[in-house]
């Protein structure tokens, strides 16, 4: 794919190569922040690269957690034990989650993988960050030029494949036909379980806890063999807005309830206001029941 080859000789790559070689020459200690997509940061000590971190590649922590070597709660316990260190190296070894040599290898792999991710992406600018501290530095640093050469070689290897892909561009999906997974390798089965037309090789690397170079190369091979497909159009996003309920309309203030004013005096009853007297048969004369009682009790009136 010409897009991949283009990125090798582009200004960004030259910029990174020049900045890294200057750091090496000057035996710089600190960070070299690479802006771009995915970008990242190279940590150097005395001119040697001791760590590379990039959003484009899983770091040592993600590799351990995603691969299932250690659970999230155990990791949190180790971080607490180590006084908040983001890379609880001593705890990992003491609790038997991994050996010292294994952790060194994980860190070296993560360093090379992140360098590959930066080189495979777009580099806009490089800026030194003397105070930046590495998360999980390796003991023996890499010569910057050699590290860059290794990353470039990997990118060239992927470019040479029949169906080259970039780590953060193509979003493969399973093939339309039913696939017999019997003859597939473990990584291929794992990738088939996670591809959905939305995830890139980089996303799949994080998902499976594997290196982004390994996953990118495997995705490229699987695409070439027809084990995966790349859709021309992205997975559509459904927009649901109920027509009768404009859910995003700005709320109008509710009408104020009728004011209730408390009466200042007790209510006064007006005789005949209820109308009950009109519904009763009116007395025809004053000599009714009242007169009868007056006569019987002998009142003066």
């Amino acid at each position: 794919m010409s897009g991949i080859r283009d990125s090798l000789g582009r200004v960004g790559h030259d910029l990174l190569a020049a900045a890294l070689s200057a750091c090496g020459r000057e035996e710089f200690t600190g960070g070299l922040r690479v802006s771009g997509r995915p970008g990242g940061i190279f940590h150097l000590r005395g001119g040697l690269v001791v760590a590379v971190e990039s959003p484009g590649a899983p770091g040592p922590e993600a590799l351990l957690l995603r691969s299932g070597r250690i659970g999230g709660e155990q990791w949190a316990d180790l971080v607490r034990e180590s006084g908040g260190s983001r890379w609880p190296l001593a705890g990992l070894i003491a609790h038997g989650y991994a050996g010292a040599a294994q952790l060194r290898i994980v860190c070296v792999l993560a360093l090379h993988d992140a360098a590959f991710a930066v080189v495979a992406g777009d580099v806009d600018d490089c800026e030194r960050a003397p105070d930046a501290q590495p998360l999980a530095p390796v003991g023996l640093g890499e010569i910057p030029a050699r590290l860059l050469q290794d990353a470039t070689r990997k990118l060239a290897a992927i470019t040479a494949l029949p169906y080259p892909v970039r780590p953060d561009r193509e979003r493969p999906r399973p093939p339309a036909y039913v696939l017999d997974e019997a003859g597939l390798g473990m990584l291929q089965r794992e990738l088939l379980a996670h591809v959905d037309g939305r995830r890139t090789a980089r996303d799949l690397a994080f998902r499976t806890g594997r290196g982004v170079y390994t996953v990118t190369a495997e995705v490229a091979r699987m695409l070439a063999e027809g084990l995966l497909e790349c859709a021309d159009t992205p997975v559509p996003i459904a927009v649901r807005v109920p027509p009768e309920a404009p859910v995003v309309r700005r709320r109008e203030p509710a009408p104020a309830p009728p004011q209730f004013t408390a009466p200042t005096a007790l209510p006064r009853r007006n005789p005949g206001a209820s109308g009950i007297t009109e519904s009763l048969v009116p007395e025809k004369s004053g000599a009714g029941w009242k007169g009868f009682f007056r006569l019987r009790n002998g009142t003066s009136k």
Partner: protein, 128 residues
Amino acid sequence: MDHKALTLEMRTLREQVTGITDTALTAADGLLIAADTADSIDPEALAALAAAGLGLARRTAEATDRGTLRQTVTYGSHGCAATYAVGDTALMVVLGDEGMDVDRLHLAARPTLDRIESILTEKASEGV
């Protein structure tokens, strides 16, 4: 409302910030508007949770005199979930993996949220 423009904004944000895995747009009452999520995620449940979470965060900010709420971020061992208010009637939730640069997401999300709010307000003014 311009559905195409809305989905384009959501997709562009995912393309723009490395590590974004899913995005969902929901009304403030938790009703889902649009979701760009993996099959493993129930978008309706995500919408309801995000709305409830943002509501709580907003009340917390008010009760503690923290000013206007900007966003909430929930961190887990496999990534994080950031929820942003879109005006006062909608919200957007963005899920990312461990590699996502959250500061970069906040920077990239602001203009996207403004544009999404315009698209949504456009719909409301039409009275559909």
